[in-house]
């Protein structure tokens, strides 16, 4: 709860900074505030707290909130550099912070009402931010499309919640859990329909196929740093909510929905990877790569034990770290070369060897090749899923990740082999480089010694 309060207050502070005239100090204030929020989150470890049957800060919530805040700190630090959006910085921070409050609510809800509130709080600032390049047509398109899809999803979500309320008479997830346990797997069609509606609505949010088609357009149109936020924090939060809801409420009736979910997983992995191969725009490629990565993470929902929670958390962290690096470097390259395609990366290995190396490691991590952390994350995930005997899905996932090497390596090849005629020097400031180096260091260290973060949830 302290986290939510801190973040909300921080959001208001940065909103007022323009009027009260301390806008110059906004960055240290935000970073400092986020550090306070991170500490207060970690302080709640092993001290489960419940608020009005609406929110529950158990270890699951604390772990995901901490991950979200850490990624947000990195995001703020990286987006502060010369290539942020044209939007007023204070307003941008305020909106991002409010959105993050939604993310925190999503990983700690204890009532379906809060699930709905969380999704709305998360999304509404993003509708604005996606369209923050006001004169850019594609930015406007992204905003509108995101809003339309968001509204549509909310409708489905509310419908699902209503049906479940109708069947159980409560929004409280522990009451729903008891209801399911009492029914002994034989739930009413109304309840079952509600579950499927919730599954669809949340699949929209994590951009799983066939509910993915908004993602590439929105990712491409939105300003890159906002895309980064959507691809990392929003995705983690949506997964946090998805997993929390299904593991608490619907674990006892798994047989009823695993078949549909399996189809979604197979489609997500296959379609995401194959369409990513076809992309010529890096942002779209990363969007599709995010879709396919969502497919891998979805596999944890077929297991639903402590192992799979840890695997999801680890994978989400690994994915977010690599993705944030990939998008930020793309942002730099895009702004300097004006090229959104793979060609913008041509000869980056010569022009800016450090960035090229960091990007290479991020790509290796996303592709799941040792020694980057992505490999271990995939290993952990596959091991968890295989231990429950889902061999077929793991084989699909393995094939998918082999295909993914194609498009991740396309960037590496562009950076090291292709030549360019462009002469604009690519310069980046030292602090920016330092942050990227630290993230890369974490990617490598966690890849070599993952024991540090393996058993967070027991």
């Amino acid at each position: 709860m302290n986290t939510i309060i801190t973040l909300s207050v921080l959001g208001i502070i940065s909103m007022l900074s323009d009027i009260l005239g301390y806008k110059k100090f906004i960055l240290p204030i935000v970073i400092g505030g986020l550090l306070v929020a991170a500490c207060s989150t970690v302080a709640a470890w092993n001290v489960p707290q419940q608020y009005f049957n609406m929110m529950q800060f158990d270890n699951y919530a604390v772990a995901f909130s901490t991950l979200i805040i850490v990624i947000l700190i990195l995001w703020v630090a990286l987006s502060n550099q010369q290539y942020a959006t044209e939007f007023n910085r204070a307003d941008q921070y305020a909106l991002i912070l409010f959105s993050t409050v939604g993310a925190i609510v999503l990983v700690s809800f204890h009532s379906l009402v809060m699930l709905f509130v969380g999704i709305e709080v998360l999304s509404i600032p993003l509708y604005i931010l996606a369209g923050s390049r006001k004169t850019d047509l594609s930015s406007n398109e992204a905003s509108l499309k995101y809003f339309m899809m968001g509204a549509f999803t909310t409708g489905i979500l509310l419908f699902g919640i209503t049906l479940i309320y109708g069947a159980t008479g409560s929004f409280d997830i522990s009451i729903i859990q008891t209801y399911v346990a009492n029914m002994e797997g034989d739930v009413t069609p109304m309840f079952y329909t509600g579950v499927i509606f919730l599954l669809i609505a949340l699949s929209f949010k994590i951009s799983a196929v066939p509910f993915h088609f908004w993602a590439p357009d929105v990712y491409q149109g939105a300003p890159t740093m906002i895309t980064t936020f959507m691809a990392t924090i929003v995705k983690i939060a949506a997964f946090g909510a998805f997993y929390r809801l299904f593991s608490i409420c619907f674990a006892n009736i798994m047989d009823n929905w695993t078949f549909i979910l399996s189809i979604v997983i197979v489609l997500t992995i296959v379609v995401g990877n194959i369409l990513a191969v076809r992309q010529t725009n890096v942002k779209r490629m990363l969007a599709y790569s995010g879709i396919s990565q969502a497919g891998y993470m979805l596999m944890t929902l077929l297991v639903l034990n402590n192992e799979s929670t840890n695997a999801l958390l680890f994978y989400a962290g690994s994915y977010a770290l690599s993705t944030i690096v990939a998008f930020t470097i793309f942002n730099v390259v895009h702004h300097l070369t004006g090229d959104e395609g793979f060609d913008g990366f041509n000869a980056l290995g010569k022009r800016q060897p450090l960035l090229a190396l960091i990007m290479t490691i991020a790509m290796l991590s996303l592709a799941g090749i040792p020694p980057a952390v992505g490999f271990f994350a995939k290993f952990y995930l596959f091991e968890t899923v295989l231990s429950q005997g889902n061999t077929f899905l793991v084989i699909i996932a393995v094939l998918g990740s082999i295909v993914s090497v194609y498009y991740y390596f396309k960037l590496i090849i562009a950076m090291y082999v292709k030549e360019t005629t462009a002469v604009i020097p690519i310069k980046v400031n030292t602090l920016f480089q330092a942050i990227l180096i630290v993230i890369t260091g974490v990617i490598l260290i966690l890849g070599i010694n993952p024991s540090l973060f393996l058993e967070i949830i027991r």
């Binding site: 290796l364 090749i369 040792p370 020694p371 490999f375 290993f379 596959f382 091991e383 295989l386 231990s387 061999t391 793991v394 084989i395 393995v398 990740s401 082999i402 090497v405 194609y406 390596f409 090849i413 090291y416 082999v417 010694n449 993952p450 024991s451 393996l454 058993e455």
Partner: protein, 490 residues
């Protein structure tokens, strides 16, 4: 502890080498690799004198999964390690003065590759083995990508995706085996894997999952399509790494990680027998294609498929002779193929062509080169007293014990091998000089320094193979013993 050093020295010197800007790195890399060679000789003496504790290193790494950093050197590992540490200095020396751009990175990658290769050969933990197995791929990928010839983009892509495809299925197999260990705490340790009691059906699919990884790496027909292009496009040191050492990982993997774990599948007609038939088809197929090649490098690439097919077939027979012959022949093949590729490099550098039709008459211009060449050719076609003979003989003994007809077909490779090797020698070295070979300088000091050790080794293995056979014998015995405790062997 020595084993750890064997991995650390090339790794650290590889990282240091990356920071060199000029050509001093050549000497640095050579020094590091020679130091490594000396250390491996020391390991050899430790092994010989029975000081085995100094070779083991076992410490928990990711305890949650029962993964440990468990490395050890037994006879087979030792021979593979010695092969690696012997060949890497030669590869580095052979690249000397060839003016590769970004020399620091180039030699850094070669040394990093060496660290990963040795890791593969000494790992006794399946997870660790897999990590090293994958790590070998990254340096070689960049070596070909950055210094390769025409069409390198397409070729490296195919190479990378192909090999990754195979190894991912091996990873699935490894995870599956891991989940079978227990009952309470799972582990990746090789000892636990050896103790598993697997049903025949399970063994079969594990066999094919592993086989895919190893067959692609070797390569065995029909998984070989990446190989000729990759060998041709790759810069010469890369080709040497691939053919001299990296493909031995496949055979080594079969001996270490397949035979003791899934022996039933290897004895089954839909497992090992089918694999042997694929190997034999590959031998004949690759030999015939080799005869038709005009590009010298490509010819050797196909010859390599044929030779390695024979080794794999011999190993799959699960006989003592087959395994011993396989190990010995791996050494011989590594040495021969590096010699051959180096001679091709010398010829290509001086004449700017690798086409056999444009060569000829080099012997009159460069008698020393011709002498070295003929010795290596004889060794490749297994003339007695050269390295190729003893191993191939043992392999055929193993095959004949296994099945007369299969062995008979495989024997054709002796004839076909002689055809393409002698034919290429004749085309390149004998006859009249062509336009491109009219001016041809004989061997330089550097080049002799590479070829002399190769020739010495060829004769050593050929005349007194017992030095090497006695090293691997206990390990091979243990493997055979372990299987025959549970299964009756032919």
């Amino acid at each position: 502890m020595i084993t750890v050093l064997l991995i650390l020295i090339p790794l650290l010197s590889g990282i240091i080498a990356c920071f060199f800007k000029d050509k001093k790195v050549e000497s640095f890399a050579l020094g590091a690799s020679i130091l490594e060679f000396i250390l491996s000789i020391y390991a050899f003496f430790c092994f010989k004198t029975g000081n085995l504790e100094s070779l083991v290193f076992n410490t928990p790494w990711i305890s949650k999964f029962g993964i440990s950093f468990y490395i050890d050197i037994d006879g087979i590992s030792l021979l593979m390690t010695l092969l690696t540490t012997f060949l890497i200095p030669l590869i580095i020396l052979s690249a000397r003065g060839r003016n590769y751009s970004k020399p620091g990175l180039f030699y850094g990658l070669i040394l990093a590759m060496q660290a990963a290769l040795i890791g593969v050969f000494v790992a006794k933990d399946a997870f660790l083995f897999y990590i090293f197995w994958e790590l070998t791929l990254i340096p070689i990928y960049f070596i070909i990508l950055l210094w390769g010839g025409a069409e390198k983009l397409k070729v490296t892509f195919k190479f990378f995706i192909y090999t990754l495809f195979g190894s991912m299925f091996m990873l699935l197999g490894i995870i599956y085996l891991y989940l079978q260990t227990g009952p309470d705490a799972h582990t990746f340790s090789i000892d636990a894997f050896y103790n598993l009691q697997l049903s025949s059906g399970t063994q079969m699919w594990i066999f094919w999952a592993f086989f895919l990884a190893f067959a692609i790496k070797l390569p065995i027909f029909p998984f070989h399509t990446w190989q000729p292009d990759t060998y041709t496009v790759s810069p010469m040191p890369g080709t040497m790494l691939l053919s001299g050492i990296m493909l031995k990982m496949g055979i080594y993997g079969i001996i270490r990680w397949m035979i003791p774990i899934v022996p039933y599948a290897i004895l089954d007609k839909w497992g090992g027998s089918l694999a042997i038939i694929l190997c034999v088809i590959g031998i004949i197929y690759a030999s015939i294609i080799a005869i038709l090649q005009n590009d010298f490098k490509r010819l050797i690439a196909y010859a390599s498929i044929a030779h390695i097919g024979l080794i794999a077939a011999g190993v799959f027979t699960l006989s003592f002779e087959g395994l011993q012959g396989g190990v010995l022949q791996m050494l011989a093949h590594g040495i021969n193929v590096i010699g051959l590729f180096f001679i091709i490099e010398i010829i290509a550098e001086r004449t700017n062509t690798r086409k056999l039709s444009e060569l000829g008459g080099i012997r009159t211009k460069a008698p020393q080169l011709a002498t070295f060449f003929v010795i290596i050719v004889f060794s490749s076609i297994s003339i007695p007293l050269t390295a190729g003979f003893s191993g191939e003989f043992l392999l055929f003994v193993g095959l004949f014990k296994y099945n007369f007809w299969i062995a008979g077909v495989a024997c054709l490779s002796i004839v076909l091998g002689a055809v393409y090797m002698l034919y290429s020698f004749q085309k390149a070295m004998l006859g009249n000089t062509s336009e491109k070979t009219s001016v041809f300088q004989d061997l330089k000091f550097n080049e002799k320094a590479v070829l002399i050790p190769i020739v010495i080794l060829i004769f050593l293995i050929g005349i007194y193979p017992k030095v090497f056979l006695s090293v691997s014998e206990p390990a091979v015995h243990t493997i055979i013993q372990e299987i025959s405790n549970t299964y009756t062997l032919k």
